[in-house]
């Protein structure tokens, strides 16, 4: 399960970041922020070759000593980033994909809310709930 889940706006500012409370929250912010380098690079590389036919799931962005960072980009260039503990070897690529898909669905629900202004940070309880379900349960 994830230790940090983030939603990043098209303009690369955070719309939502949630990490396990036991660890240094700031560190996850930095991890997510630096992973955008790879996301940007991947988006621009895909844009050149394939045009519209784009796989939303970007796969493993980069491994650090302690974490694995996965990325996903919606068609409107909103990015999802999931950080997983490196020691968690049981997690398969398929599971990560399905986590992203679930996240995307919930995100779509948030966007469908007529009271939500796209570009504002996400403050939805339903979204929170789904994200919590995907996070490592500590304690």
């Amino acid at each position: 399960m994830a230790v940090c889940i983030a939603v990043i706006a098209k303009e690369n500012y955070p719309l939502y970041i949630r990490s396990v409370p036991t660890q240094n929250e700031l560190k996850f912010h930095y991890t997510v922020h630096t992973s955008l380098d790879v996301v940007e690079e991947k988006i621009s590389a895909v844009g050149k070759s394939l045009g519209d036919q784009r796989e939303l799931y970007l796969g493993l962005l980069y491994p650090t000593e302690d974490y694995k960072v996965y990325g996903y980009v919606t068609n409107s260039k909103v990015k999802f980033v999931i950080v997983v503990d490196s020691s968690n070897t049981s997690l398969r690529d398929n599971e990560i994909r399905s986590m992203f898909r679930k996240l995307h669905n919930t995100f779509t629900d948030v966007m469908c809310n007529p009271f939500h202004n796209p570009g504002d940070t996400i403050q939805s309880k339903a979204f929170d709930g789904i994200v919590s379900g995907m996070m490592v349960q500590s304690g």
């Binding site: 303009e11 690369n12 500012y13 955070p14 970041i17 929250e25 700031l26 912010h29 930095y30 922020h33 630096t34 955008l36 380098d37 790879v38 690079e41 962005l61 980069y62 650090t64 000593e65 007529p114 202004n117 796209p118 570009g119 504002d120």
Partner: protein, 1124 residues
């Protein structure tokens, strides 16, 4: 040993091993020949030369002693894995080959003596190498060029003798002629040496391998590793890197099979690190970087958890850091040699991880190494030799291999000594160096955010190292990246560190800037924290020392306090101006002109909105707006002092209104806000001016405005419907136009379009004042509106005088025609005449300007007003004139015969929509003359409606030509006309039509007939033909009259006659018509035998063809007819 260098990899491990060959018998200092030989060996060793490291040694050099060979390993217990001196010994001390240089020619007179001297020298070398497999070779330096092999019998004989004497094989004796081709010989020599060296290392490998059978797995585990390492190293020396890699890999797996416990953990890790380094290095060298990376990952995974002694945990971090660093360096080196790295796999990640472990090392060191402990004496880290015997062992128990330390007390002091040593390590320096390496890499591989992150880490490390200036420099540099990307959490964290630095340096301005942003809306600090910061900022404004930042080192805090006291005591520099535009300050500012334009007779209004984001009210003492015209600045200042200072409540928008009267000179100009300044603090303490460029806004406001516009667009919520002023809905308007006062006059135009070409087209202008005061200095500018087609300017003429037709000097635009003053309600009329010489639509401008006195906000100003009226007028051609030449028989002529009358017809078709009055017309002839006594216009006072046609006809004759021109100009036709409905005094327009040229021809014979206009049946009809000879010759003419059914006739039926030049003959016929109606006259056949070009047909055209014959009248009427 240096503190930091304990973890450095030994240079003999990192270098590329090359076969070691010792050269003896060379005197490179005093002997020039020897020097040249030595230079040829060592200079210019490019990659294409064999990898050998040469060394010049004296002939009697003592090589390291070879220990006596062990015959059995049965009772042998190894003391460690690898001796520290071993690699160096084989790289630099024990040669694979010793070469003895000796000057000896084959024909040397003292051959015998020299031979034995040489043999002695060889013997000395051999003795020194006792027990080693090192080869010995002899090189004879000869002055003469050798003969081809086999030819010099003496040479081969003596060579054999020398080999025998020195106990050398023939392959080990070389000859080096000291001639021109020295380098060539040297290269051949060193290739031969290389072969010898390879054989040597091969035997060494065999020798080490042969030990294996004597070893057992229980006591000799260390030897397994050692032997594999040695075989691999010898393979490298032999340049057999594939096998070297294989043996290193075996060694690596063996090293992890060793029984690890706390006492030998360091040794195992050290050796594992060495072997791993070698493997990675060879993988990169073999261009298999993925193998290198995989090996390194495996290495890290295996060793990560092997921390060893908990009291020396920092050692493990230091070792880990070094592993990453050296792998990063290997990677980087491979890239320099042509490997391509990618964004997600580049040396930067390894440097970064190395830095990470160094940070961990620092933390562990801080935890484990208590300050104040005194170093034990004697120092347990000292060894007799000054170094260690084996890699990775403890100095106080070298060679000890059992699980428990031999002496617990010694172990304790040893650990303590290591901890004390660790205390002095400049950790921050190491971390910063690694981070900056990583930054350089990430910059190269397009990771701007990673780079920023590492720079933050560097800044923080500088902060820990108390180098606040450098820390601030780095943090300042990256702050703006986080601000533009709107990562507020990270920005707040960086600002917090920066604020600490600024506090500890007592840098007042920086301190205020960071406080401001931490209080601002982008900061993620809690209200409580913000409250504390706000209290501090107020203190600084009062010129007091702020409270210390939390989490600062107490010693630094007290130093900082002293600094602050000094700062506060210092007079002057109490004013700061802070450009806040690029930050997100705690006071937000937006300003707007209430309208994008103001009339000069209206006061200009602008509003400044301020909002404070800090938790407590903040008071400001001055608010000033600077405008592009600084004269207005005085009206846009709000100053207050002491008690009545303006207070901004948290998150409440406050609006300040300013208004001023624009100057009349500024009409048509733009007024911009160039800046807004808010002063915090006061005269008693410190003044801080927050300054915004333009109309306010800061680093975050653009995005906020965008978000607001999105939401309001969706909900249709306007500002009007909200009871409370919403900050986000305030839209900045940074400039306004000053435009002239609205004119209160009416300008009306009356005219009858379209205009006709050349006519004096009259446009009536009525100006009516609706002003309350007197409109002074009315001025009219009328005419063609500038900016149209340039040709129009030349074909349009405007004048005020309509009584006569204006000429070409009249301008296209009449500027500034004074019209006098106009009292309220008065009306003024005027006419403007326009003459257009070409057809085209034209835009005419009527610009009425005047000035008027008015009052704005109690100020008397003179306003200039103007009203523009434009009208588009089409110009059309009034009539078309067409002309034609016809004969007297009304037959169209394409050429005109000389001196023979013809008719000239003119048609005028009106195309004007208005009736035209043709006053008169006249024909001005050039060569032609009129056939009638005077030419009188037939069109006087004719009025033509649209589409109507007027025609004129003149009978003309062309006199005989004086020159030979066959075409002549006819002349001009002049028409005077004007528009019919216009008043009688409007001038007549003279239009001139240039008439076409006509082609002339001369005829030799002219014939014409006199006959009555009609005949009557059965009544005589006399016809007289006149035949003129127009040539200078006598013409013979044959004439015949053809019979006709309609006539009888009398006269000469056929005649032949002569006509003298210029004279005329007459022929009289009496025709007697037989039938009524139009009758063809009897045909006259004429031929000129002398002039064959002229025949009957050409002459016949001058003659009438038909005549009308009336029927026979009744008798009764005869009288009346006769009377008629």
């Amino acid at each position: 040993m240096m503190a930091g260098s304990q973890w450095e990899l030994p240079p003999e491990l990192c270098c590329r091993p090359m076969a070691f060959v010792a050269l003896t018998g060379l005197d490179v200092v005093y002997n020039a020949v020897h020097r040249a030989i030595w230079d040829a060996f060592c200079a210019n060793r490019r990659a294409d030369r064999v990898p050998i490291s040469f060394k010049v040694l004296p002939g009697d050099h003592e090589y390291p002693k070879c220990r006596t060979k062990r015959t059995s390993y049965e009772w042998y217990i190894p003391k460690g894995i690898l001796k520290t001196g071993w690699m160096n010994k084989h790289l630099n001390l024990v040669p694979a080959l010793v070469v003895l240089f000796y000057e000896l020619d084959w024909d040397d007179p003292q051959w015998k003596e020299k031979q034995s001297e040489c043999a002695t020298k060889v013997e000395i070398v051999r003795t020194s190498l006792q027990g080693r497999n090192t080869k010995v070779a002899v090189v004879l330096i000869q002055k003469k060029t050798p003969l081809p092999p086999g030819e010099d019998l003496v040479a081969s004989e003596r060579a054999a003798a020398l080999c025998n004497a020195c106990d050398l094989s023939g392959k080990s004796l070389f000859v080096l002629p000291h001639t021109d081709h020295l380098v060539g010989y040297i290269i051949r020599l060193e290739n031969a040496f290389y072969e010898h060296a390879q054989t040597y290392y091969y035997t060494e490998i065999r020798r080490v391998k042969s030990h294996k059978e004597f070893l057992n797995k229980t006591t000799h585990q260390l030897l397994f590793v050692r032997h594999q390492f040695k075989i691999a190293f010898f393979s490298e020396l032999k340049q057999d890197t594939q096998n070297a890699l294989k043996y290193y890999r075996t060694a690596y797996s063996l090293v992890h099979e060793l029984r690890a416990h706390e006492t030998n953990m360091l040794e195992i890790k050290t050796m594992a690190g060495f072997i791993n380094y070698k493997i990675c290095r060879l993988c990169f060298q073999h261009n298999t970087p993925l193998d290198a990376i995989a090996q390194f990952r495996k290495h890290i995974d295996l060793c990560k958890k092997k921390i060893g002694s908990a009291e020396l945990a920092f050692e493990h971090s230091a070792w880990m850091s070094k592993q990453f660093q050296s792998f990063g360096e290997l990677f980087d080196e491979a890239i320099k040699l042509g490997l391509t790295a990618i964004q997600t796999q580049n040396p930067g990640f390894y440097y970064q991880q190395a830095a990470c472990y160094s940070q961990e090392r620092k933390q562990l060191a801080q935890q484990l190494c208590q300050a104040g402990a005194s170093p034990p004496s004697p120092d347990p880290l000292d060894t007799q030799s000054g170094g260690l015997d084996f890699y990775g062992q403890r100095p106080w128990r070298q060679g000890h291999q059992s699980i428990d330390p031999p002496d617990a007390e010694k172990e304790k002091t040893g650990i303590l000594a290591l901890q004390i040593k660790e205390r002095d390590v400049p950790h921050s320096e190491l971390i910063i160096a690694l981070l900056s390496n990583a930054v350089a890499q990430f910059k190269k591989y397009k990771c701007p955010r990673m780079k920023s992150h590492l720079m933050v880490l560097m800044g923080e490390e500088y902060y820990h190292a108390k180098d606040y200036t450098k820390a601030l420099k780095l943090l300042d540099y990256v702050m703006c990246d986080y601000r533009t990307e709107r990562w507020w959490g990270l920005l707040t964290a960086i600002l917090t560190t920066a604020l600490r630095c600024a506090y500890l340096m007592a840098s007042v301005k920086d301190y205020i800037i960071y406080c401001m942003e931490l209080l601002g809306r982008a900061s993620t600090l809690t209200e409580e924290q913000k409250g504390r910061i706000e209290k501090n900022i107020i203190k600084v404004l009062m010129n007091e020392v702020p409270d210390s930042e939390p989490e600062c080192d107490p010693a630094s805090v007290s130093a900082a306090r002293l600094l602050w006291n000094d700062r506060m005591a210092l007079a002057g520099s109490n004013e700061f101006t802070i450009e806040v535009q690029d930050y997100i300050p705690f006071i937000q500012c937006k300003a707007k002109f209430l309208s994008p334009s103001f009339h000069v007779d209206q006061p200009i209004q602008l509003q400044v909105f301020l909002q404070a984001d800090c938790p407590h009210p903040v008071s400001l003492n001055k608010l000033a707006v600077s405008l592009s015209n600084q004269e207005y600045n005085q009206w846009c200042v709000l100053e207050s002092s002491g008690q009545d200072s303006v207070s901004l409540l948290p998150r409440k928008t406050k609006c300040f209104n300013f208004s001023f009267v624009a100057k009349t000179e500024d009409v048509g100009k733009k007024i911009e806000m160039t800046g807004i300044e808010v002063m915090l603090g006061g005269d008693t303490g410190r003044c801080v001016f927050l300054s915004w460029r333009g109309a306010g806004g800061d680093a975050a406001s653009t995005h906020e405005a965008l978000q607001t516009s999105r939401s309001s667009r969706r909900w249709g919520r306007g500002v009007e419907t909200r009871p409370v002023l919403d900050w986000h809905s305030v839209i900045m308007q940074h400039s306004t136009m000053i435009i002239s006062r609205v004119p209160k006059i009416l300008v009306q135009l009356s005219h009858q379009p379209p205009a006709l070409i050349n006519e004096m087209y009259c446009i009536g202008l009525t100006v009516k004042s609706q002003e309350e005061g007197v409109a002074k200095d009315l001025k009219l500018t009328a005419g063609l509106k500038p900016g149209q087609d340039a040709n129009l300017g030349q074909t349009t003429h405007v004048t005020l005088n309509g009584s006569k037709v204006c000429d070409d000097t009249a301008p296209a635009l009449l500027p500034d025609v004074p019209l006098g003053d106009l009292k309220p309600g008065e009306k003024l009329e005027s006419c403007i005449y326009v003459k257009c010489v070409s057809t085209a639509p034209r835009v005419f401008l009527f610009h009425v300007a005047y000035s008027i006195d008015t009052t704005v906000d109690g100020r008397q100003i003179v306003c200039k007003c103007h009203k523009d009226e434009t009208v588009t007028i089409e110009t059309v051609v009034p009539f078309e004139v067409s002309v034609k030449f016809v004969s007297t028989k009304f037959e169209p002529l394409d050429r005109v015969a000389v001196d023979i009358p013809f008719l000239f017809m003119i048609d005028i078709v009106s195309s004007s929509p208005w009736p035209l009055l043709l006053a008169s017309s006249s024909l001005q002839l050039l060569t032609m003359t009129s056939n009638t006594p005077q030419l009188q216009s037939q069109l006087q006072e004719v009025v033509l409606q649209t589409g109507e046609c007027a025609s004129e006809c003149f009978c003309l004759r062309c006199p005989p030509l004086t020159n030979s021109n066959t075409t002549v100009a006819t002349g001009q036709y002049l028409i005077s006309w004007r528009r019919k409905p216009s008043s009688a005094d409007s001038p007549l327009i003279q239009s001139t039509v240039t008439l076409p040229h006509v082609i002339l021809e001369s005829v030799p014979l002219y014939i014409h007939a006199d006959l009555p206009s009609y005949g009557r049946v059965r009544e005589s009809l006399p016809v007289r033909y006149h035949i003129e000879n127009r040539t200078a010759l006598v013409q013979e003419v044959e004439m015949a009259v053809e019979p006709s059914d309609a006539f009888m006739f009398s006269g000469l039926k056929q005649v032949r006659l002569r006509i003298l030049p210029g004279s005329e003959q007459q022929m009289l016929y009496n025709y007697y018509p037989l039938m009524a109606g139009y009758q063809t006259l009897p045909q006259l056949n004429i031929s000129l035998p002398r002039c064959p070009t002229t025949d009957t047909h050409t002459l016949r055209r001058f003659l009438p063809q038909r005549i009308f014959v009336k029927p026979q009248g009744r008798q009764l009427d005869d009288a009346s007819i006769a009377a008629a």
